[in-house]
Symmetry: C2
Subunit: 332 residues, 2 copies
């Protein structure tokens, strides 16, 4: 099958509700700063009632990445489950409006479209509380083989290890991609996801993953160490490429043969880091799919991350392709 997409991704299809908060609010609500916590509908209603005024924006980790790839001029596809409701319509509109291919049927007569309540502290850190709603009904039947088989890179988010049916969809996609000779990329998503599913994730990484994306907290959680270098060394022997983000410390791309330290691309200001990792993944995977060097891939990732850190919302507001051309990272 011909390559039609640079990146096809499967993920939890979520609408974000993003509002400012102070650290005292996180403590009062007993929230783990910087992490993603799963909540039920009752807690979602209760927490939303106490949050500040905010904005709504389509989110979902892998969906944000797909939007970023499209913004860079790449061809992308997305698979994820929303409900047939107002937020689901917004999600579907937004992902299609980026130019991404998205045909997963919305859920009727079930839970509502997933919401992620994001409290952003003055340091730009985001703390996420997710009601998965319709996401948990994503099944293997939603994974369209034609999409997976025609993507240069199939990208899976670690968050999919939480909903059980979605994990099966995940396995199906990996199997199809492997059989078609496609690259499989995985994001670890969150340190708590790693804690909940470490064994399954390690097994999956060893057998299926070519490219691993993680931040330093997640990669250290995976290898149960507080030494970043040790974690980077451990992952280097298990995958072809690992791209490890370190916040303001830039990123580090490791392979079995090499280590590449990538400088951070400083944002205009730090407003909201929601989506920073997702956009790093977008730049990195777009670079890989277009045959760029690992250094260039990392710099594309940093550039894309800087764009979203600068404003509320997890997806680029300015065309990433133009920004990348301005930096000489894409040919003019």
């Amino acid at each position: 099958m011909h390559v039609l997409f640079d990146v096809a991704a499967i993920g939890n299809a979520i609408v974000d509700v993003i509002a400012p908060a102070d650290d005292a609010f996180l403590i009062q609500e007993d929230m783990a700063k910087g992490a993603m916590t799963l909540i039920d509908e009752g807690r979602a209603t209760e927490l939303y009632g106490r949050m500040a005024a905010g904005i709504e924006a389509s989110g979902g980790s892998a969906a944000n990445t797909v939007a970023g790839v499209a913004s860079l001029g790449g061809r992308s596809a997305y698979i994820g489950k929303v409900a047939a409701d107002a937020l689901g319509d917004i999600f579907a509109h937004d992902i299609r409006a980026t130019g991404a291919h998205f045909t997963t049927a919305p859920l009727h007569h079930g839970p509502a479209t997933a919401r992620c309540l994001i409290n952003v502290t003055p340091d730009g850190q985001r703390t996420m509380s997710t009601y998965l709603g319709a996401c948990v009904t994503l099944t293997p039947a939603d994974v369209d083989p034609a999409v997976i088989e025609s993507a240069a890179i199939v990208y899976l988010e670690g968050y999919l290890f939480d909903p059980e049916e979605a994990r099966r969809a995940f396995a199906k996609a990996a199997g199809l991609a492997r059989a078609a000779g496609r690259k499989i990329a995985l994001s670890l998503s969150d340190a708590f996801v790693v804690e909940r599913h470490r064994h399954a994730l390690l097994g999956f990484i060893d057998t299926q993953v070519d490219v691993l994306l993680a931040n330093e907290t997640e990669i250290m959680a995976l290898f149960e160490t507080d030494d970043f270098s040790a974690a980077a060394k451990a992952v280097a022997s298990r995958v072809e490429i690992a791209a490890l983000t370190r916040g303001a410390g830039g990123s580090c791309v490791v392979t079995p043969q090499s280590v590449h330290d990538i400088p951070v691309h400083a944002p205009l200001r730090v407003t909201d880091t929601t989506g920073a990792g997702d956009q790093y993944a977008a730049g990195f995977l777009f670079g890989l799919a277009s045959g760029q060097s690992l250094d260039a891939c990392g710099r594309l990732g940093s550039l894309a991350a800087a764009e979203v850190i600068d404003h509320y919302g997890p997806r680029p507001e300015r065309g990433l392709a133009e920004l990348a051309r301005g930096q000489g990272l894409i040919a003019a």
Copy 2:
């Protein structure tokens, strides 16, 4: 009755859908750049389908102003109609989360919550297409006399001249405010609104309005002139205070006795001018309610406008009170 609120406002309760667009898109969709056009539900669906990916944020001109007053540390109240649906819940949450008093009952079994589709061109200009939905069902019964009578300033948006029942609610509020000896402020809202309702607006201004807010296009439309100075002179004899915004040219506050030119407060960058006029009104009215000089009121307006121009979305993301203290416009 005691003064409980600095500002109580009545307006169209709307959720904004804000997305980037180029000028060619406005031409293709036959939209009047910078204006607000009323559309029906069918057109709203059609236009949304062709718009870029965006964000959703609570809007509505007077509601944005109320949120701005609250952000400045003022006490505010809002009256406006949403439906009992997902967007209505978001609107109600957001206005209450600012600290504003909001108790208008949502509409059941009728049209959906109003949406304003906002296309933002690279110059930061916003072009608005509004489906009024539930707004048009705001009736005089929704105007709570206790709220109106306890507000130092009652603020009415000119957009309310469009839905017929809302216009009656508007008249009721003005009557109550007048009887209670409160100040009545009016925003002209939009040049097309002025064209549609010039005669009624002039009558209302002459008999009821103490403070008029308008931009230069609107005030020139009201007096059917293309000479700003002539329009400013014409309005000065009809109201106690008129605050006229001139975009990058700052603003001009006129009274029967005086003219005050207020410099613009330069935004960090021009991203999206949605809500700039509404935030100018917030700063200006908050200043008036707290007994500041007209110059200080104008500068508070400029400061608040600059904050929202800098990002997508019509309401402040940073606390305006702190920004104002930083500029010496509110006592530390």
